[in-house]
Symmetry: C2
Subunit: 158 residues, 2 copies
């Protein structure tokens, strides 16, 4: 199974590209060319990110997109959430109301915990870190998972 949608994946690529040139103002077409993505798709992604406040857009000639904050202040989780919506493992993590099993399903509280762990993993890495070489723990400690805990937690979110 693939966790991230293609669009979310592309969105991170676009955001990373913007982070690599934080000073320049780039048009949607230029970004599409640089990332080898279809123009319309890149435009759609940028639109979503602008809506979420991650990038600022200026119209008219000499317009274009630019990151709204410093690359180090934008996490992967935010980019993904801007495109695909909030992150949740299961249906009931996102729409609690839709799950009529709430009362007797014993798995729900556990999902919430795993949920936070996954979210933390995506929140812990910023666009700035995405540009350079591996900047955070290479997860060597995860090869043997060892229950009980603190799964990702060797990486305090800054």
């Amino acid at each position: 199974m693939i966790i991230l949608s293609k669009l979310a994946d592309y969105g991170v690529i676009v955001a990373t590209h913007l982070a690599a040139h934080p000073d320049r103002q780039a048009t949607a077409a230029a970004i599409a060319a640089s990332t080898r993505l279809p123009r319309a798709t890149a435009a759609k992604l940028l639109k979503a990110m602008a809506h979420a406040g991650l990038v600022t857009a200026t119209r008219g000639p000499a317009g274009g997109y630019r990151l709204a904050r410093r690359p180090a202040a934008i996490s992967i989780a935010e980019v993904v959430a801007a495109i695909d919506g909030d992150i949740g493992l299961t249906q009931c993590s996102v729409h609690e109301a839709d799950c009529e099993r709430t009362t007797y399903c014993p798995t729900r509280p556990h999902w919430a915990a795993i949920n936070r762990a996954v979210g933390a993993a995506l929140s812990a890495i910023s666009l700035a870190e995405m540009i350079g070489p591996l900047a955070f723990a290479p997860a060597a400690s995860f090869t043997e998972p060892a229950r009980d805990a603190r799964i990702f937690m060797d990486e305090p979110p800054r």
Copy 2:
């Protein structure tokens, strides 16, 4: 965005139900009734798990399903993988060949690391733990994920 597919979610519910009664031999119909799932769907899930070797099936009258191992020896990751296939964040994590961006895309190594983290989170919890109360650290340190953000679990859109 929802990470687990509905079927994978259901699969965990079914597996958890089996783990709650490890001695009993349960028919697909009985499991479906207990979990309030459609019979055909439950059967499909059980078949997939049997194929992956997580449950054993015996046919004929008085047949049914049973966990192949002790509940503590089956991880959530295995159940999910049995139904949805291997876990990967992005397309290129699963089919490396399909990504022609391999050479210049700077984000790929990072994905692999996050990938391991997610996999570890799902591998770290077993069916046995899924039955009882929260058995591992609820990741309380991440409840405030950083900066403005508040990415998860609040639920604004729509």
